[in-house]
Amino acid sequence: MLTKTPRGKNGRNGKLPHIAELPKIDTTTDTRDILAHAAKEAQQDNYFIVDVDAHVTETAFWGEVIDRMDGDVYKQMARAFKGRGPAPGLLNSTPGLLYQDVFGRIPHQQRLGEAVPGGRTHAQVTLVQRAMDSMGIDYMVVFPTPMLVLGMHPQVEMEVVIGNAFNKWLTDEILPQDPRIKAMLYLPFNHPEESLKAVEAYADNPSVIGFSVTSTRFRAVNHDSYMPLYSAIQASGKPLSFHSGFHWGDQSMQQCNRFISMHAISFVYYNIIHMTNWIMNGLPERFPKLKLIWIESGLAWIPFLMQRLDSEYMMRSSEAPLLKRRPSEYMAEMYYSSQPLERSNLDLTAATFRAMKAETQLLFSSDWPHWDFDLPNSITTLPFLDDQAKRNILGLNAARLFNLEVPEHKMVGDKKAPAAREPVTA
């Protein structure tokens, strides 16, 4: 990462230095200006980078999503919220969402209100491309934002209608415009049969590189009703991800009186529960070829849960009879996204990397444009990783998992400068 601005170039050789004023950053600042420092770093590196978790802001284009809803009544209900402010009421989303920008301190979390050119390129595509190009990212996998808590909606049919409409919007409008933008499509998981239909509908779409469950929900992932879904995803050869989140309406989380407390715990909490149910019910034995990715819970929970489950399993193996190995061994074969990477104690971070076999199982993620995003420098500056491990984590693990093409100029050892990328649409 940039730690110092370069020395020795200021006014040397008697030349007058060039002076330019830089803007204060607000909600209208161009993504490329916000991430200008990241772009300087990216120019110095030649890493192949796959960002397996970034976000679109679907509510900024909510009218386009609503237009794709099945059923006139649901469309009418959604449109009835128009004119009552920017929040799409049908989502019934949690108030904590609006706390994320630290009350105006982090503008890009508030809104990406920058100017984007009109024309054939969708504004959301332009925003994603600006972020990718600034951070030197080769592929970006996008997820929704407010819809991350849609699994808590009390109306199951709303998750189906909204989830399906979002998938159509993403595959109609966004993914076709740039082959570097990929998605793990939204599964309306509270409705197992409709989730299965979504897999069947998109399994052959090359821009759909997997399927996702938003973890913030009260559903047992081991319920028998999900077995056909898991079979179908396994047959597709594409991974299934659990993308965590938060919900301040969850009674457990309501014990936290501050957003910081609730946010810190909840992203880990939901994935700990789903992982525990997944392991103890022997789902890795039932679906041995199903590839799982655990997203946006950081990494520190992994060695904790490995040890905790191993310890309990050795005493109570009769309660988990499908297991043929220790829980930690199954966990070490799964994949994990890196953000938000805990780095306050690098000894612990290094131990975590060893426990989870990060060199083959860890996938870089930025979470852009959210307030706690990570840059590629969260990986490149780790002192205990060698160059090959960094390349694996930043992109090569993901390339293998998702069968993505690695550009020739990004092959290991090839220091050729990357060619300027031409936008697919203008």
């Binding site: 601005t5 200021n10 002076i19 330019a20 830089l22 630290v102 301190r105 982090i106 840059l375």
Partner: protein
């Protein structure tokens, strides 16, 4: 050490700040009365453009004599907040409020005859 004039003190309102790129060196200049402070525009957390963020007064929590919370208030210390992730630094000391070892890099700055001069590192 090269010195370069970047503008007039009068062009920065009291309590305000401006950010300049002098060749490759990015510097935020913060005015308080007739005094100015300058920091490099790099957050020590992740390299973000710290000086292009917003200023907020430090938030304090008041405690009653029996140690109950008396609520939140703004204190007098002024913080510059990194727009990337929200890291805050005291403008006077350059230090993070929870970890004084994490601090901004100061740049020597002076005002003479109403002009602001930055001393550029060699």
């Amino acid at each position: 050490m090269n010195e370069v004039a970047v503008g007039k003190l009068a062009d920065i309102a009291d309590g305000d700040y401006r950010i300049f790129a002098v060749d490759e060196l990015e510097v935020g200049i913060f005015r308080s009365g007739d005094e100015v402070l300058a920091y490099e525009n790099i957050c020590p957390h992740a390299g973000g453009p710290i000086c292009q963020g917003k200023i907020f007064n430090r938030v304090e929590e008041v405690l009653t004599p029996d140690k109950k919370s008396g609520g939140l208030r703004f204190g007098k210390a002024r913080h510059i907040v990194c727009p990337w992730h929200g890291y805050e630094y005291d403008l006077t000391t350059g230090c993070h409020p929870g970890d004084p070892a994490l601090r901004l890099t100061s740049v020597k700055v002076a005002v003479r005859d109403g002009q602001i001069y930055l001393s550029l590192p060699d």
